[in-house]
Symmetry: C2
Subunit: 682 residues, 2 copies
C-alpha cells in the first residue's frame, strides 16, 4: 500500500511512523478505528428507543415462557396427585378441590397483601392511564412481583377456575415499560417526557398480547382497539417492533426447550386447506356471528349486574372488604365441586387444561362422524375430543351443558379478587359455541352443501375458529380477534367468514352493551371519557359556555404569600391559572401546585419573626416561573370540538377565555356530565 506524503500531513505522519513504525498502513488502520468507534457509538446509545423496545419484548417473552413452564409443572403435580390417590371418591374429591382452593387463596391473599391494585386484569385502569389520567400506583414496580406470583397460582388452577393470562400480562408489561423508562431517564439524564412514556406504554400493551399468543400483528391491533380511541402511526411501528421481538423470543424459547422442532403457531392446527368452506356456508357463519353477538350481550349484562350485586350484597361485600381469601376459597370450592370429573365434570370435559380445550375445539375432525366408528377404549390415546364424548349425552349434550354451566361459572370467577385475565375463557367459550353450531351443521348436511361434484364435508373446526373470534370480539368490542385466531392457529383459510362473523357480532353488541373493559370502568367510576355517538348531532350545538366550571380559583401576577396560601387551601387542582394583576383578568399562564408549595417554603410569612433566613416577601410574577398558556378554548367552542381535543391531546383540564379574560375551565368531569346530559336529556 502506498503512503502519500503531502506537505501538511508530513509532521503527523512522521510522528506516527516514529511511534509505531512496526505497524503497516496507518491510514487504513485509522479508518478502521474510526469505523469501530462509530459502531460502538451506535451500539451503546443507551437511550435509543429501539434497544429499549427490543429489551422489553425479550424480557416479557422470557417471563411469559417461564410462567407457562411453571404453570404446567404445577398443573402436572395436581394431575399426578389426583391419579395417585386411588379410587376412593372422597379422597379424589378432596384432592380435586383442595389444590385449586389453596392456590387461589394464596394468589388472592399474597397479591392483595402486597398491593390492593394487583387484582383483576388491570386493563380498565391501564386504559384510563392512556387517556392521560395519572394513576401512579398502578404502574409501580412493587405490583409486578405480586402480580407475577398471583397470576402463576391462578393459572395453575387450570380449567377449574377457567381464567386466563392476557389482561394481567398486558398490565405486567406496562409496569415493566414504566420501570425501564424510569431507569433510562435516570441513566441518560434526559428530562422525562410524557409523550415518550405514553409511546412506551402503547408498545408495552402490544408486547403483552403478543407474548401470550405469539401473534405480533394481531397483538398490536388488539391492543390498539381495546386501549385507545386514537393512535399515532409512529406508536404502531414501535408496537410492531416490540411485539415481534416478544413473539419471536416466545416461540424461540419453545424451540430451545425442545417442545417444538421449529417456530410454529401457538395453537397449531392441521386444517385441510384445499377446500376450507363452501360459499353457502357463509350464511351459517353469519348466523354464528348473530348468536355470538346475542350471547355476548347477555354475558356483558349479567357480568355487570354481578359486579354490582357482589358489591351490594352485605355478605359478599363484607367478605370482599375484609376476608378476600375466604371469599375466594368459597367460590373456588363451588366451581371445583361442579367440575369434579366423576360428577358433573364428565359432562363438560373438565379434565382438559385451558390449552387443551382450545386444541380440542379446533380439532380438524368432525366429532359427530367419529362417534359411531369408535368406542371409548378402542381409539388410540391422545384424542382430546374423547373428553367431550359422553355415552348418554352425546357431544351435542356435553357442548350445550358446557356452555350453560360455564356462562355463570365464568361470571362468578370474574368477581374473584385475584390477578387473572378474562379474555382466554371468553375465547374458549366462543370456540365452544362455534363448535356446537358447526357440529350441528355437519350433522344436518353430512355430505356438505356443495351441490354438484364430489361431496365436500363441512369442517366444524372452522366454525369453532369463527365462533372464538366472534364471541371474544363482540365482548371486547374488537374486530382484530379475527386476525388473532388466524395467527394463533396458523390457518388463514377461514379469514373471510371469520371476519364476517366478527362484524355481525360486533354490530349487535356495540349497539347494546358497553365493552367488557368499559364495564368495570363504569362500575369503578374511573375518570374515563365516554364517546360521543355520531348520531348525537346536538353535540355540535352545545357550547363550552353552557357546561364549563365558572368558579376557578385563580392567582394574580402580583400575589404574595398570603394569597397563595388561600388559593392552595381553596382547591386541590394540579395547576392554577395566573391573571394580570391590573386591569381586566387577562390569563397570563399557569403555575403548578408543586411550584406554589416551593414558593411558600422559600418565602417568609409576612407575620413571621424576622430572624428566619428566607427571602423577604416576593410576588409570583418575580419569583416564580409562570408556564405560558399553550391552548385555550373560547366560550363558543362546541362540545364536540372540546371532546375531540380532550381525546386527541389527552387533556385533563383546559381554561376558557373570552377576549383573553379567564371566564372558566373545563375538565373531564364537566365534559362527562355534558355528554351524559346529551345522552339522557332531562
Amino acid at each position: 500500500m502506498e503512503r502519500p506524503d503531502p506537505g501538511g500531513l508530513q509532521e503527523v505522519e512522521r510522528v506516527l511512523v516514529t511511534e509505531k513504525s512496526w505497524r503497516p498502513c496507518p491510514k487504513a488502520r485509522r479508518r478502521l478505528r474510526g469505523c469501530l468507534e462509530w459502531v460502538k457509538k451506535q451500539l451503546f446509545r443507551v437511550g435509543e428507543d429501539w434497544y429499549f423496545l427490543f429489551f422489553l419484548g425479550v424480557l416479557m417473552a422470557t417471563i411469559s415462557f417461564m410462567m407457562d413452564f411453571l404453570v404446567s409443572r404445577l398443573y402436572q403435580a395436581h394431575q399426578w396427585l389426583y391419579q395417585e390417590i386411588g379410587d376412593i371418591l372422597v379422597l379424589k374429591y378432596l384432592s380435586w378441590t383442595m389444590y385449586p382452593m389453596a392456590l387461589a387463596a394464596f394468589s388472592s391473599g399474597f397479591s392483595q397483601s402486597i398491593t390492593p391494585h394487583s387484582g383483576g386484569s388491570g386493563i380498565g385502569e391501564l386504559k384510563t392511564i392512556l387517556t392521560g389520567v395519572v394513576l401512579e400506583d398502578y404502574l409501580a414496580i412493587h405490583n409486578f412481583g405480586a402480580k407475577v406470583v398471583g397470576l402463576t397460582c391462578t393459572l395453575a388452577c387450570g380449567s377449574t377456575l377457567f381464567l386466563g393470562k392476557v389482561g394481567p400480562f398486558v398490565h405486567l408489561s406496562a409496569m415493566a415499560a414504566a420501570y425501564l423508562g424510569k431507569m433510562r431517564t435516570s441513566v441518560t439524564g434526559e428530562y422525562e417526557n410524557k409523550f415518550k412514556q405514553n409511546e412506551m406504554l402503547v408498545a408495552a400493551q402490544a408486547v403483552g398480547v403478543a407474548t401470550v399468543f405469539g401473534a405480533p400483528i394481531s397483538g398490536v391491533l388488539f391492543s390498539i382497539e381495546v386501549m385507545s380511541s386514537h393512535f399515532a402511526v409512529r406508536d404502531y411501528w414501535r408496537g410492531f417492533f416490540a411485539a415481534t421481538c416478544g413473539a419471536f423470543m416466545f416461540r424461540l424459547l419453545t424451540v430451545f426447550s425442545s417442545e417444538q422442532e421449529t417456530i410454529v403457531a401457538v395453537f397449531k392446527s392441521d386444517f385441510k386447506l384445499d377446500f376450507p368452506f363452501d360459499l353457502l356456508e357463509t350464511f351459517f357463519f353469519l348466523i354464528l356471528g348473530a348468536i355470538c353477538g346475542l350471547v355476548g350481550c347477555a354475558y356483558l349484562f349479567c357480568q355487570r349486574w354481578m359486579m354490582v350485586a357482589v358489591k351490594e350484597n352485605w355478605l359478599t361485600a363484607k367478605l370482599l372488604a375484609t376476608d378476600k381469601p375466604i371469599y375466594t376459597v368459597l367460590a373456588v370450592l363451588l366451581l371445583a365441586s361442579i367440575t369434579f370429573p366423576p360428577g358433573l365434570g364428565q359432562l363438560m370435559a373438565s379434565r382438559l387444561t385451558m390449552k387443551e380445550y382450545l386444541t380440542s375445539l379446533f380439532d380438524n375432525r368432525t366429532w359427530g362422524a367419529l362417534v359411531p366408528n369408535s368406542s371409548w377404549v378402542g381409539d388410540p390415546p391422545g384424542g382430546l375430543w374423547q373428553e367431550w364424548f359422553h355415552p348418554s349425552a352425546t357431544i351435542f349434550g356435553t357442548l350445550a351443558f358446557f356452555l350453560v354451566m360455564k356462562f355463570w361459572m365464568l361470571i362468578l370467577a370474574t368477581t374473584l379478587p385475584l390477578p387473572a385475565g378474562y379474555f382466554m375463557p371468553i375465547f374458549i367459550y366462543g370456540a365452544a359455541i362455534g363448535r356446537l353450531l358447526g357440529e350441528t351443521v355437519a350433522f344436518l348436511f353430512p355430505r356438505g352443501l356443495h351441490t354438484g361434484g364430489t361431496p365436500r364435508p363441512i369442517l366444524p373446526a372452522g366454525y369453532a375458529l369463527a365462533g372464538a373470534a366472534a364471541f371474544s370480539g363482540s365482548v371486547t368490542h374488537a374486530v382484530s380477534t379475527a386476525l388473532l385466531v388466524c395467527e394463533a392457529t396458523g390457518h388463514l383459510g377461514h379469514v373471510l367468514p371469520t371476519v364476517l362473523a366478527v362484524l355481525v357480532a360486533n354490530a349487535i353488541t356495540q349497539k347494546h352493551q358497553p365493552s367488557f373493559y368499559d364495564g368495570p370502568i363504569i362500575v369503578k367510576k374511573l375518570p374515563y371519557l365516554p364517546p360521543i355517538r355520531s348520531r348525537h348531532m346536538a353535540s355540535y350545538q352545545v357550547v363550552v359556555e353552557e357546561f364549563m366550571e365558572r368558579q376557578v380559583v385563580a392567582l394574580a401576577k402580583g400575589d404574595g404569600f398570603e394569597e397563595v396560601l388561600v388559593a392552595l387551601d381553596a382547591s386541590a387542582d394540579a395547576e392554577y391559572p395566573v391573571l394580570e394583576s391590573t386591569g381586566p383578568p387577562m390569563l397570563v399562564g399557569t403555575i403548578s401546585r408543586t411550584q406554589l408549595v416551593a414558593f411558600l417554603q422559600s418565602h417568609k410569612h409576612p407575620q413571621a419573626p424576622p430572624e428566619e433566613k428566607l427571602a423577604t416577601t416576593g410576588t409570583l410574577g418575580d419569583n416564580c416561573t409562570i408556564e405560558p398558556i399553550m391552548l385555550q378554548l373560547s366560550p363558543w367552542t362546541s362540545l364536540h370540538q372540546a371532546h375531540h381535543l380532550f381525546e386527541l391531546l389527552k387533556l385533563q383540564r383546559i381554561f376558557v377565555t373570552r377576549f383573553g379574560e379567564l371566564v372558566g375551565a373545563v375538565s373531564r368531569v364537566e365534559l362527562r356530565r355534558a355528554i351524559e346530559e346529551l345522552t339522557n336529556p332531562k
Copy 2:
C-alpha cells in the same frame, strides 16, 4: 287464537271488526304491521353509514373484478395475435411492441385529454387531502371514467409496462366515496360534515387495497400506514367493514364466474406447512431484509432523481408538456423492445403476466433442484417456472438479469403520464430478490440447515414471500405488507421471519430516504406537513412567536363595504379574522371569504347611485354572521405542540393571540419553514 276484550279497547276493536270482519286476529296483524314498519324504517335509513360503506365496498369490488376480466381478455387478444402471426421475426417484433404502444398511447392521451389529474397513482394527492388540504378537483367524478379506462389500458399492456393497479384503485375508490357522499347529503338534506367526509375517505382507501388483493385486514392496515400519521379507531372499524364487504364480493365474483370453486386467496400457494423454516434460516431472512432495505434506498433515490431529471431535461420536459402520448409511445417502444421474448426477453421471463410472475415466484418447488431432472420439452406444461429457466444462463442468471434490467425499466415506467400503480411491480421485484436469495441458500445447503434427524430442504418460496413484503414495505415505509403477503397467499407459516425482514428493511430505508409516496409530494411541492423527528428535541424550545406570520389581514367589527373590499384585495385567505372595533385589537371571530363576497353583493357601495335596490350601508357586526374562534395559540406555544395540533386536528391556519389580542397567524407554510430550519440550521 283468543281475542281478549277489555273495556278500553272495545270501541277500537269493534271498528276494526266492522271494517275488516273477514280477517282474523287484528291484534297479531297490527303487531306484525308495526314490525314490518320497523324493518322498513331500519332498511331505508338512507343516510346510515353502514349501508353506505357496504355499497361502496360492493361497487368497488364489482369494478375491480370487471376490470380484471377486461384486462385478461385484452391480454389474451395480444397473446393470440403474437402466436398466430407465425415465425417471421419482424412481424413478431411488431406485434409484440405495437399492441402495448397503442394501448399506452390511448391510455395516456384519453385520460390526459379528460383531466390532467388522472395520471400517476394519485396516492400522494390523496394523502395531502387527508391532512385537510382541499384539492377539490382530485376527487371530482369526471376523473373516474378517465382513470378507469386509462387504467384498464395500462394494465392490458401486461408485464411489458410492468405497472400495477393498487394506487389508482385507491384513488378511484376515494372518488366514488366522495361522489356517493355528495349524493347522500343531497338526498337526506343533512348538512355536509367535514369529519364524516374524512371518515368515508379513510374507509375508501381500505376498500381500494382490499378489492385489489382480496385482503381485508391488511388492506385496512396498509391504507392507515401509508396515508395518515394519526388514526381514530372508529375510522378503523368503518374501514374494516367496507374492506370486508369489498374483499368478500371480489372473491365471490371469482366463484360466480367459475374461476374458483370456493373463496380462496388471490395468489393461493400450496406451501408445505409442517416445517416452514428452520430456526437458523432466520439469519438469512435478516440478510434478505437488509438487502431489500438497501435496494429500496437505491430505488427511491434513483426514482426521485429520475422524476426531477425528466422535468429538467428540455426534450422530455417539452414532450411531457405538449405531447404526452408521444413520450409514452417512445418509452413503451424501448421497454417492449427489451422485453421481446426472442431477444433479451427470454432472459427475464417476459412472457409471463404480472399475476403469473407472482405465482411463479411463490412456487413451492425449489427450481435449482428441478433443473437437472427435467428438460424443456419433457416436463408437463403449466410449470410457469420454466419461463425462468434458460439453458445457458441458469435460473440464477435470469433472476439476476431480471433484477438489474427491471430496476431502471421500472423507474422509467414511473415517469409515464398514465394512470398506473407502482406497488405491484415493487412487490414482484421484491419477490424476485427473495427468490434469488432463497434459491442461493437452497443451492448452498441442499439438505437444509437442520443439524440432526431427517433433512428439511429449504423453501425458496418462503424467501420470495419475505422478499416481496420486505422490499414493498421498505419502499412504502409500511410494515403491514408482511400481513398482506400472508393474506394474499393464504399462508401464515412464514409470518414471523417475514415480519423480521420487513422491520430490518424498514429500519434501513426510513432512516435514509423519504417514502415512495412522500417523494412525489416533495417533488410536486404539495402543501404537506413534514414530520418532526423525535430526536429534534429543539422543537420543544422553538415557540410560535419566532416563526408566525405577523402581517395578518384583519377586519374590524364595525367595518363596512370599503374596508371589506380592501381586505379581499389584500389577501386570498379563505378566512379573515374579525377584531373588536374599539379598544385593543381583541380577536372576536372569523368570517369566510365567501361570506364576505356575499356581503359585498348584498350591500350598496357608498358611492353607488341611489336607485339600486340593495340594503343600505351595513357593518360586519350587524349584517354578517361572525364564526366564533374555537381554538387559538399563544405566542409561547412550542413548535412541537403546534405541529402536533396541526397534525391531529388537520388544521390549515390558526390565529395567535396574546391576552386576547391578535398578534399573528400560523399556517402550514410557516410551520414547514420552521421545521426545515430546525432540520437544516443555517
